[in-house]
């Protein structure tokens, strides 16, 4: 598998509080990464830096070997992003948001978007402001998937979903994406979510990765549930 993304020495602070410290990570294409971390450990910060929403204080990010800097936008055509808090333009309708996004992505799949709306039972005419948090998450997911990304960042999206959708989402969507060769970085603090889908496990603590290993190897080494492994690792760090 080829290297898709490489992060080197990434750091970010908010005020005097460091969130990411000398963070290194290499992402290979076509794999599903699970990023575990407690609340406030920097998962959202990492996702936002990768999406160019906020600047890093230091370090480098390379996508397909090319260094990407804050303010660049072309690389984002290959990236999908479902944030933890899906803040859209509340006054837009669901269809208007899809149309709006469709102009930015060259590989935009209109049929896929329509199918996902149907699958998630979203009314295209509904104003986004009237949708529940779960519905907004589903809409965010539909937008991200319609863009046919090469790299999809899911920033704790399942915490707001109802159980059936969550199971459906995890079982079908992520497996489907993995099968199509899309690289997925699934950041969450809900440990058990990852067990069914993750290929490589990343554990973030104190601003650094304290674990970056294939999930099968982790399970074989520790002979415990993922939750126990996570607690033990974080406590040890």
């Amino acid at each position: 598998m080829s290297e898709l993304l490489r992060i080197k020495g990434l750091s970010k602070s908010f005020g005097r509080k460091p969130v990411l410290k000398d963070f290194d990570l290499t992402v290979e294409s076509g794999r599903v990464y699970g990023l575990l971390g407690c609340n406030g450990e920097g998962k959202t910060t990492l996702a936002r830096i990768l999406m160019g929403v906020i600047p890093a204080d230091g370090g480098d990010v390379f996508y397909k070997g090319q260094r990407i800097t804050y303010g660049q936008s072309a690389y984002k055509r290959d990236f999908g992003y479902v944030p933890e808090d899906p803040f859209f333009y509340e006054d837009m309708t669901v269809r208007a948001l899809l149309d709006f996004n469709g102009r930015f992505y060259p590989k935009w799949d209109r049929k896929r978007a329509a199918a996902d709306l149907e699958r998630f039972a979203l009314d295209p005419k509904a104003r986004i402001g009237t949708l529940s948090r779960g519905q907004k998450l589903k809409l965010g997911l539909a937008v991200a998937l319609a863009a046919a990304p090469e790299f999809l960042i899911l920033d704790d999206p399942t915490s707001g979903l109802d159980v059936p959708t969550r199971q459906d989402f995890l079982r079908d969507v992520i497996r489907e994406l993995a099968a199509s060769g899309t690289t997925v970085l699934f950041a969450t603090h809900l440990v058990h979510e990852l067990e069914r889908i993750v290929e490589r496990l990343l554990v973030l603590s104190g601003g650094r990765l304290i674990l970056d290993e294939d999930f099968d190897k982790v399970k074989a080494t520790h002979q415990a549930s993922l939750e126990d492994i996570f607690v033990r690792l974080v406590a040890g760090a």
Partner: protein, 652 residues
């Protein structure tokens, strides 16, 4: 992507825009329903220009990033594959086009309805005088500035009310501070000493301040972290301060180094021997032909045009001493022709009866021996000539300041449209000739020449209908004869009925030209004071006129040479002449051929020098030594022609 974002902004702000459009429609529509109530209509136009447009711009601008900040959608927008510069440009373009639509509607009403045009040209809040009727660009400028300020600030994640308030404050305070500086001593009292320059400077400062806000906003959006509002605000403030300092520097540099028409001037005062003296906006300079150098006789911040011819190696000039808008005093100075021994003769501290309140100096002359000065004053508030003028004399060291009575001259009771001019100061007799001009009706002038005997303190009328033959060359080089002409009853510069000269010792008049000929104001004594060069206009067949240059010889007592040179008055006015220093030839500027001609005493052409193409508007030539100086009125530059090498050079 730009188009997508642009139309998204239009859809988002459509409600605000429709609301503003409706208010404008009501305010303009009221103009037609209230046709009989001009006061109300005027108030509504003022409301449109002073309140509606600034506030409409403010509200539109503040809405710039409102949806991203209110709905927390900024993270979503910035994660899309679109550059932040494009986001910023699309937002600004959408707001600017809404703003433009509002102004186009007003422009249409302004262009279509004279009543709106008349009222809109009225308010001049920034000016203290009524400018010409025109489109209210000041309101466009002010509201555009407010739009940019509010838009720039909308990037910051602050409450909408705070944002509007701060934008309004900054949007009004910055232009007000700029205008305050321009009108104050810091800005050189530009607003009332040079209003055209002041308005341009204000406009430039507004544009540069707008760019400062634009730059700070764009830089902040592109570089800063939108998730950290305080850090972002600090970043914006830092950039803004830096750009505002640059804007201030740019404004000052523009005001200092880029002139407006009339900002600079270079005016020949007099020339004799090796020296020519010029008045400039920076002071008085002299060119010395023997050294080939320019020397400043006086540098002064607020020079006046009043400057005497040199007398015994000294000149006198007046300046303004400005300490505030209502604290202005005229000063009289003298300085040696070598630029040394500069002395204040009259100023703020001069003893009584000198009254600074009546210190508006209107005429100035230095005595031929260079020891004392005579000057005329008029009350500072008078613009029509209605106030009583006063004659003063003072020694060059400031002692002996004395007001001389002018009762006899002023006894006719005329107060309006009356002006006095100092004309000549006799060398042998200590007599000051004063020209009185009275214009009872526009286009009519009555002249009278008066003689003030400074030793006997007596004033008597010399003759009515007489005025100096020209402003620069009337007095002979020996300062004993004064060339005069008889007024044709019109303006100072118009052809006169006859030419004569007065012997200042005996006050006897000798006629030179009389009859049907008219004399033009181009009269010059030769360096020895033995010949008089002048231009004359004669009736020609078929109602036309003939223009000629003529030389009168004192020794021969008649005109000894005459040559036609022009067939039209316009062409005649374009011809400038000057005696060469040896007194044996004459230099004439021929505008038609753009050349300088050398004429002998028979007025035959003996040589010719083409003017360089770089001299756009050649003025009167001055001959100093073996060099000719020509001012280019277009660029206010001074050119020198070396007659021996025949080379031109720009020297100032």
């Amino acid at each position: 992507m730009f188009t997508t974002l642009y139309f998204k902004e239009w859809r988002e702000k459509a409600l605000i825009f429709t609301f503003e459009l409706s208010i404008l429609a009501v305010l303009l529509g009221a103009q037609f329903f209230l046709q009989q109530k001009k006061d109300i209509r005027e108030g509504l136009i003022y409301a449109v220009l002073l309140l509606f447009f600034p506030f409409a711009a403010l509200i539109l601008g503040a809405a710039g990033f409102e949806s991203e900040n209110r709905q927390e959608a900024w993270a979503y927008l910035f994660s899309r594959p679109v550059s932040r510069v494009v986001v910023w440009l699309a937002k600004l373009a959408a707001l600017a086009s809404m703003f433009t639509v509002l102004w186009i509607i007003f422009l249409a009403a302004w262009a279509a309805f004279p009543a709106v045009r008349e009222l809109a040209s009225g308010p001049r809040v920034l000016l203290e005088y009524v400018a010409e009727s025109g489109f209210p660009w000041w309101s466009v400028g002010l509201s555009a500035f407010l739009l940019i300020v509010a838009f720039s600030l909308s990037l910051l994640r602050a409450r909408q009310f705070n944002l509007l308030f701060v934008a309004l404050l900054l949007g009004l305070v910055f232009p007000a501070v700029a205008w305050g500086l321009i009108i104050s001593k810091v800005g050189g009292f530009m607003a009332w000493l040079a209003p055209t320059k002041a308005l341009r400077t204000l406009l430039i400062s507004l544009v540069l301040m707008t760019l400062a806000f634009v730059g700070a906003s764009l830089l902040t959006l592109v570089r800063s972290d939108h998730s950290q509002p305080r850090k972002q605000t600090r970043s914006f403030a830092g950039s803004l301060v830096l750009f505002l300092v640059l804007a201030l520097g740019g404004t000052v540099a523009t005001a200092l180094f880029i002139p407006v028409p009339g900002d600079h001037y270079l005016s020949l005062v007099t020339s004799s021997g090796d020296n020519a003296i010029y008045a400039t906006e920076r002071g008085i300079l002299t060119y010395d032909a023997s050294s080939g150098r320019i020397r400043w006789l006086a540098k002064t911040r607020y020079p006046e045009y009043l400057l005497s011819s040199p007398a015994n190696g000294r000149i006198a000039y007046s300046t303004l001493d400005i300490k505030g808008r209502r604290d202005i005093t005229h000063e009289v100075w003298t300085v040696g022709m070598d630029g040394r021994d500069r002395r204040l003769a009259v100023g703020r501290g001069s003893p009584g009866p000198w009254d600074p309140a009546r210190s508006n100096i209107t005429g100035l002359m230095i005595r031929p021996d260079g020891r004392s000065i005579a000057f005329l004053t008029r009350a500072a508030s008078s613009r029509s000539g209605g106030a009583l003028p006063a004659l003063w004399t003072v020694n060059v060291d400031g002692t002996g300041l004395e007001q001389r009575p002018l009762d006899a001259l002023l006894a006719d009771g005329t107060t309006e449209n009356r002006w006095l001019f100092l004309t000549a100061w006799g060398r042998t007799a200590n007599v000051l000739l004063i020209l009185k001009r009275h214009s009872p009706q526009p286009g009519q002038s009555q002249f009278g020449l008066w003689a003030y005997d400074l030793d006997r303190r007596t004033l008597r009328k010399f003759e009515d209908g007489v005025l100096p033959a020209s402003w620069r060359g009337s007095m002979s080089p020996r300062e004993d004869l004064l060339a005069i002409k008889l007024s044709s009853g019109a303006g100072l510069g118009l052809p006169a009925k006859a030419l004569a000269f007065i012997d200042l010792a005996t006050m006897k008049r000798t006629a030179i030209v009389e009859g049907t000929d008219l004399v033009l104001s181009r009269v010059q004594w030769d360096p020895a004071g033995e010949r008089l060069l002048f231009q004359v206009k004669r009736p020609a067949p078929e109602g036309r006129a003939d223009y000629a240059i003529a030389i009168y010889s004192l020794a021969a007592g008649k005109v000894v040479a005459e040559e036609s040179f022009a067939a039209s008055e316009r062409e005649a006015w374009m011809m400038w002449t000057a005696w060469m220093p040896d007194g044996r030839s004459i230099l004439a500027r021929d505008a038609e051929s753009r050349s300088l001609k050398i004429l002998d005493l028979a007025l035959r052409e003996t040589g010719r020098f083409d003017l360089p193409a770089r001299i756009k508007e050649p003025g009167q030539p001055a001959v100093v030594g073996d060099q000719v100086l020509v001012v280019d009125g277009k660029t206010d530059s001074l050119w020198r022609l070396d007659l021996s090498t025949k080379r031109w050079k720009s020297i100032y």
